[in-house]
């Protein structure tokens, strides 16, 4: 699954730490999501969509092998 969290974070001028604090996870979790090493839960995806004011499917996109 691809995501545009890093881009959205840059647009909002947020650091990984600041975003992590906003959605209640660790900075390492944000880093793992951005590097596509971890697919977040629905709850976390919804929290991210709330922070970036975007729909979940604007932030996350399925890949062919998903």
């Amino acid at each position: 699954m691809k995501n545009v969290i890093k881009i959205q974070r840059a647009i909002k001028d947020l650091t990984q730490e600041a975003l992590a604090k906003k959605i209640g996870v660790s900075r390492q979790t944000i880093n793992s999501i951005e590097k596509n090493r971890y697919v977040p839960s629905t709850i976390l995806a919804l929290k991210l969509s709330e922070v970036f004011d975007k729909n979940v499917n604007e932030l996350f996109e399925l890949e062919e092998n998903d």
């Binding site: 604090k21 209640g24 996870v25 660790s26 390492q28 979790t29 880093n31 793992s32 971890y38 976390l44």
Partner: protein, 133 residues
């Protein structure tokens, strides 16, 4: 927002202190007994130390980290699954290792040894995966 995953059934962080307290007490008890300050039956001493170490390792395994989010929980589950598979692997491989070295299939590993090895493997996997997340 709270960094503790709601719904997680893990023990509060202060249980880590309790676990380390139990380990220290067990080691102290063992040391006092070996130095003959405390006269106690060897069988009873072994049972106490075995239980003390197993309880403390279990408490450490079931206590949440300071920052316990969903990725940490995910890592925890994978580490538990890995240590379980490792334990089963030991039980399968051990008789064959005995056959090579002792010439018989008899198994030497006890339940306490197996559980301790599994818990140690769990900690190893958990911290390694947490470091590489």
């Amino acid at each position: 927002m709270n960094k503790i995953q709601t719904g997680s059934q893990l023990l509060p962080v202060y249980f880590k202190k309790i676990a380390f307290g139990i380990i220290i007490t067990t080691v102290l008890f063992e040391a006092l007994s070996y130095s003959k300050i405390l006269m106690i039956d060897k069988e009873l001493l072994n049972t106490i130390s075995r239980s003390g170490i197993l309880i403390s390792l279990l408490l450490l395994a079931l206590t949440r980290s300071k920052i316990e989010d969903e990725l940490t929980l995910n890592i925890r589950i994978r580490a538990f699954a890995g240590s379980f598979a490792f334990g089963v692997g030991i039980l399968i491989v051990e008789p064959f290792v005995n056959l090579i070295f002792d010439g018989s299939f008899s198994s030497d590993i006890g339940s306490t040894q197996l559980i301790m090895t599994m818990l140690c493997f769990y900690f190893l996997m958990f911290f390694k995966m947490k470091k590489n997340r």
